[in-house]
Symmetry: C2
Subunit: 207 residues, 2 copies
DNA sequence: GATAATATATGAGCGTGCTCATTTATTTGT
DNA sequence: ACAAATAAATGAGCACGCTCATATATTATC
């Protein structure tokens, strides 16, 4: 059964559109792949010709949002921001594009972006993490740091970023002001660390 | 079918013992509840009389390890440690007890301790998080801080702690030295933040 | 000791996400 | 036109975690 390239694209897009509708209505876990296929006018198995897993289907939306977020960031930055401001802008730009998906993204991001070891890795998630981290390294490099932050620092960055995503997924305040406060705090903190303001071998000055 | 309290305890313990064996051999996800029940000499359904879910079964082991870790911590601390050292000791004590479970804990911790919103919360996980955070607040209070760290600070603490757990689950170096380095870094950093060394409204001194 | 009451064990069965042998529509070859 | 080749659609079916009506073994009552 051959099909035109156009029809294939149509199917793909219809799946994505219907999926976002049902995810939004019933949540990610409560939505079955049968639901989505039915709504798109396809058999269950056909859906998996287009997306290898339910997780990948959802992450496709996330990846696209991230891409748009990066574009927005490039458009919005003036070049006058300091490093913390630029990181804030970068993260906020991503969340802005993710916003329409917010109500159901929790389980998706948790599974796909988690740093915990996984046997079956979701390719989209891997790519999203690498893309994000590379962009961050680029931003840092643009501020004249001699050497890129080490592995430990980037590990902590990703932990903080995931914390922000989790908080954001829960934040129901009108403009997610609390999330903004958290981003502000975390980015400033991270900058301080990689600026060498972080703790040396010496003591932490408690109290 | 009544059963003696002894027989019930025996069943429970046999389930836990067999489960840890099979989890270790095949991993958490690849182990089926049917496997465990069979190994324990019970029917599939019977297992769920003892543990409401596979996740809870695994988290029961984690909770017990955490409890022992807290005991170890109380025994090992001298009272002379500064805050960062004490937090390091607390976290390391927990990981030490978790060590025998390390090879299969990734997926368990990821799902149960994640800060992402969940519809079906695992009670054990909730309790473990609260227990850990309360202990941390207690340690901080013991170092003469006027007021407990705010919500944002504790959110970041939990993010960093999850990052440590994820790193640890991957760390195959003999004594997990890299994890130790990460804990050292993260605890010092956290102390700096709650010590007011964290960023104020003002600028982060980038570059 | 027989009967009733009760607590636990049991495994068929449900709804998942996903697979795969088969069917069906389209294109290519003659 | 017809046949052969091919790519996508299909839905029965699998293994999973988990549920629940039923069977069964123990205890209480007389």
């Amino acid at each position: 059964m051959r099909i035109s390239e156009q029809a294939k694209q149509d199917n793909r897009i219809r799946i994505l559109e219907k999926a976002v509708d049902i995810f939004t209505t019933k949540g990610f876990d409560a939505t079955t792949t049968r639901d989505i296929a039915l709504a798109a006018g396809l058999a269950t198995g056909t859906l998996f010709n287009y997306f290898p897993s339910k997780e990948t289907l959802a992450m496709t939306m996330v990846t696209e949002a991230f891409r748009q977020g990066r574009e927005d960031f490039q458009r919005r930055r003036t070049g006058d921001e300091d490093l913390a401001e630029e990181l804030f802008l970068f993260i906020a730009s991503g969340l802005r594009r993710l916003r329409p998906l917010r109500t159901f993204l929790g389980p998706v991001l948790e599974r796909s972006l988690s740093p915990f070891p996984r046997k079956s890795v979701c390719q989209e998630g891997e790519a999203a993490r690498q893309g994000h981290l590379n962009a961050v390294q680029g931003i840092i490099a643009g501020h004249g740091f001699a050497e890129a932050p080490d592995y430990v620092a980037m590990t902590m960055y990703w932990s903080l970023y995931l914390g922000i995503l989790a908080f954001w997924a829960n934040d129901t305040s009108p403009n997610q002001e609390e999330t903004q406060a958290l981003i502000d705090y975390a980015t400033r903190m991270f900058v301080q660390i990689i600026s060498g303001g972080g703790p040396g071998k010496g003591g932490a000055d408690a109290e």
